[in-house]
Symmetry: D2
Subunit: 235 residues, 4 copies
């Protein structure tokens, strides 16, 4: 890494702080995104130096899988473990109660499966992701099976959202998730009760998972640039 701009230096600092929380003899959920990518790199460094031993990763996405191989983190699957000790993953919005919106990369279903199983779910973000109310700046992603697209969009509008289908780039038609489904991005002006909305949307027939992660995150590591220097604080 020759030169990094301030934003990347900050992501790197947060990733390093997260990697420092990983202990030997643990199973680690490996998240998706650019800050998490730094965390994976630093976990790999610590394994190489012998600072860490016997760490096994469970990837939340194809990206995490590729990076884990690159950085020498052994992988396993949910079928052979009975717990996840810590998961490290990013978020698109974080509210003061540590509730999240995720799904900008359309990977939130697999992420929620892994993150929700972790004893400790460590979220890595920059300060721009902190919001007072979820839904203020980011659309809520909802994964839906293709057949249910139209009725689910109508149901989401009835819940007060402005839904739109996420369209593909370098692919005609809509984005398709790793499960073969579509993603509806929903504008809510502000989400009053995230716990209730999460359950209500997941109960819509044809919805697989939505991007609300309520009561899942345990620790938030926030990167900021203060006086031109990258800093990391926890809340």
């Amino acid at each position: 890494m020759a030169e990094l701009d301030a934003a990347n230096l900050m992501k790197q600092a947060v990733g390093k702080a997260a990697a420092d929380r990983v202990k030997s003899n643990t199973i680690v959920g490996l998240g998706t995104g650019s800050t998490t990518a730094y965390a994976l790199e630093f976990i790999g460094d610590r394994l190489k130096k012998g600072e860490l031993e016997n760490v096994v990763g469970i990837p939340t996405s194809f990206q995490a899988e590729v990076l884990a191989r690159k950085y020498g983190i052994p992988l396993t699957t949910l079928d052979v473990v009975d717990r996840i000790d810590i998961a490290i993953d990013g978020a698109d919005e974080v509210d003061p109660q540590k509730n999240l919106i995720k799904g900008g990369g359309a990977a939130h279903t697999r992420e929620k499966i892994v993150d929700a199983l972790a004893e400790t779910f460590l979220v890595v973000v920059d300060s721009g992701k902190l919001v007072d109310k979820l839904g203020s700046t980011f659309l809520l992603p909802v994964e839906v099976i293709p057949m249910a697209l139209t009725p689910v969009m109508r149901a989401l509008a009835k819940l007060g959202g402005k839904p739109e289908l996420r369209m593909g780039i370098k692919k005609a038609g809509p984005i398709v998730t790793d499960q073969g489904n579509l993603v509806i991005d929903v504008k809510f002006d502000a989400i009053a009760d995230p716990a209730e909305l999460e359950k209500t949307i997941n109960n819509l027939p044809g919805v697989l998972e939505n991007g609300l992660f309520v009561g899942v995150a345990d620790v938030i590591l926030v990167g900021e640039i203060i006086d031109g220097q990258p800093t990391v604080r926890e809340f």
Copy 2:
């Protein structure tokens, strides 16, 4: 239909009673199963005789689609209609509050999408499907994405169920649904609060849909054999 045994005569009677409820100029959800198959046949008969006009069907399954074509019922999709007037479908268990367990044919996700949209959801069953408590005689089917199989089975066991993966016949390994997912059949001794359990299971990460249909059914047509004669009653 040359000769039919008593059970089939009863299914036929229920199917006919359901077909008689369909009106002209309506959009009809077409369910799955042997009793519903008779309903589709009788709807086709009424269209041919001119008793019914301008009826369009929305199939819940491949089976319904094939039968609709066979019996001359024009088809459309959820993307082009703004309502469903009536849906006709079977069930594996029906409780006194008209709550259902469905999913013996692994088609409950598509069925719930269609049935839940219908202005009137008409359930056609024989009297053997009536139970005091859901879960008494039938396992609860839960559709889950493959990656989440093991954690969802553990979560279902924590909810008090005895889960087992539904295995295939004429297919190595498990049954795969029309969406590419797996089915876990869960034994609950009796389901105390179906509405709560439906939401709780749908909120498990990786679960697409479960076989509980709570507050969806409007009319139940029940076939019985009384004094050797097929009869149909409504509740």
Copy 3:
């Protein structure tokens, strides 16, 4: 359409020429892409004016389906027709023998299913798509099931190609097709025998379909700008 630049005027002219070839009482395969989109618009116009009657479309993609509904072209499916009279679709490369490379939009599997069934397959392109040898300017897209990604990439390299996985935008990890598969884009310096390469790649275990369309196209409509004017010629 208020103002159109020269490129769009040319696409519009080609789309119009294609729409003019459609006859009443036919089943029409509806392709994907910006030039084809104009063809669909003009077919819709001709239906509205009454110039055309009883035209039914079979979409090759989600995009075609949405546009057909917008322009009032009734749709059907491959399960209910016994032929396709004409298909209109774009291409990424066209050689002098009317062989094509398609798949820039990752829709080539569904496009080949429809286009190959058509009595007449009409290709609409601008002159920039004409090449002497396939593979000169465009990568060859190969759709592969996820499990076979690595061995298929190796097999394609052995065939002389430089394969790379097509990555997603607005989606973490790779592009996923409408069938839930991945796309490998392969650089071949020039494809000596397209017919043989098409079969060889389709015979690789795990490959669903590749972007070579050999012996499928019947008519090529080519748009060009000559003296600042959009023109259309056939070859």
Copy 4:
């Protein structure tokens, strides 16, 4: 294994003979089916006894994965190996040239991906699977994406076959494969040129893979009962 009938004793003998061919420090493709299941059990035994070391398996199916875990065979994936040394798998028909029909369990796509990569592909069958001409006793399975079902069935009929859609048991509608596709079973009276037919069918738009394995098998282990005793011969 308390008591086994003659057929199972024979399968067990063939499975043991196959397991005896596995060497230390190899990557082994793990097939599907009842005879292969015995091979996996005996590989596990040899690993436990220390007769074999450093054997890693690549499963062809969910069944193989579950059995490998049960018998203590470590697993890996195609993404992290650069070769497969030996694959052990069953077959539904074997001709004198060691060409096969597979796919009775709808797993032939994943099986072909693994088996075709193996340095040595070892087929385990009982003598009832030996035929003079492929297609004599077993239908040829063809995996097809749902959208292409009808045109592919027509194309198969034009090739001289009698195609039928494989229907599900404990699942309404057709069998769905692990890739989310359908299976067409095709009756050919006898297949004159398996190599040509394999390529021709794989080149049909919408076909993923068919059950013909031509030039893939290296060694056939055949179980027979002679004078009431299970015997194994190689050809």
